[in-house]
């Protein structure tokens, strides 16, 4: 690299990045999410939550569905082994006094935002029985191209027993950052 060219990474301070996470963050990951990452993080979730097996089981279920959504649907792709495209995103597990928070985020194309938001708002408008009914209706539909059951987000809301906290941050004309946070109470 020529000396008059500025390396963009020199503006990146790892310590500032590190302390931007407060002590509530138990785990964070940014990068491609393939089956190996899924496996390692799910085992780690079990380890750090072993004092609370019910919450641990819930966080694990939520993690699998949300992480798989990133892997399949993130607009940011990485090519790993076998030339297979893998979606990239971010995962954060936080712990507060009364509950755990599980947050995932990934890039989405602007044109895909409205259906996601509408789906989340609809899920949040339903009580538990109505949500279960909605899940049963959606599950009867034919599988999607990835073999999914179209009920990942519904299951996440049912498992967490709390609303889906969704946020969209516009990046440019083509992409936005989509984040979804859910709570799991420690005492269930």
């Amino acid at each position: 690299m020529a000396s008059n060219e500025k390396n963009p990474m020199t503006n990146f301070n790892l310590y500032k990045y590190y302390i931007s996470f407060n002590h509530d963050v138990q785990l964070s990951y940014k990068g491609p999410i393939d089956e190996h990452i899924l496996s390692v993080i799910s085992k780690y979730i079990e380890v750090i939550l072993r004092k609370n097996p019910i919450a641990s089981r819930k966080i694990f279920k939520i993690f699998i569905e949300l992480a798989q959504n990133i892997s399949y649907y993130s607009a940011e792709k990485n090519i790993l082994t076998n030339d297979k495209e893998i979606g990239s995103g971010t995962i954060v597990l936080g712990e507060l006094d009364e509950f755990y928070t599980f947050t995932t985020g990934n890039m989405v194309r602007d044109k895909d935002i409205i259906p996601i938001i509408e789906k989340c708002e609809y899920i949040n408008s339903l009580d538990r029985d109505a949500l279960r009914k909605y899940k049963r209706e959606q599950r009867k539909k034919p599988s999607g191209p990835k073999g999914g059951a179209h009920i990942g987000l519904i299951q996440v809301a049912l498992t967490s027993a709390n609303p889906l906290d969704v946020e969209i941050t516009s990046i440019d004309d083509e992409f936005s950052f989509f984040s979804i946070a859910v709570k799991v109470l420690k005492e269930i």
């Binding site: 089956e35 190996h36 899924l38 496996s39 097996p53 019910i54 089981r57 819930k58 694990f60 279920k61 699998i64 569905e65 798989q68 279960r132 899940k135 049963r136 599950r139 009867k140 599988s143 073999g147 999914g148 059951a149 009920i151 990942g152 299951q155 049912l158 498992t159 269930i188």
Partner: protein, 128 residues
């Protein structure tokens, strides 16, 4: 017909244990289920149950001991139950038993949803 025996494993994905026995009609699905290609794994199992209920036509006892399954798997479980219900409606002798952890309220909801969806009777047992 041949028995299907698959030993469950947990590597990157989680494969459930399968033991389908055509001589005594006892079919067990246990462990956890999170697979790369869910339909590809379950298609031969569903085909086996279809063949058993249409050709062998002897009593069948289906035992679920799944402690975790993802949403793609939940669809395949529904397919099993539909086949079993159809067999029962046609005069087949069907028993469905489901073993679950007592503290797993979400699993109880899942089982109840399957009963609502298919109309099949599911006997509940607590896992140790």
């Amino acid at each position: 017909m041949k028995d299907i025996i698959i030993k469950g494993s947990r590597d990157s994905y989680i494969i459930p244990s399968v033991n389908f026995n055509y001589r005594n009609g006892i079919c067990e699905l246990s462990g956890e289920s999170f697979l790369e290609e869910t339909a590809k794994f379950y298609s031969p199992l569903l085909e086996w149950i279809r063949e058993y209920t249409t050709k062998v036509q002897k009593p069948i006892v289906f035992i679920f001991k799944l402690t975790y399954f993802n949403t793609s798997t939940s669809k395949c479980i529904l397919d099993f139950l539909h086949i079993l219900k159809k067999y029962e409606d046609n005069g087949g002798d069907v028993v469905v038993n489901w073993h679950y952890y007592e503290d797993d309220v979400d699993m109880q909801d899942d089982i109840e949803d399957y009963i609502i969806d298919t109309g099949i009777k599911i006997n509940l047992f607590i896992l140790d």
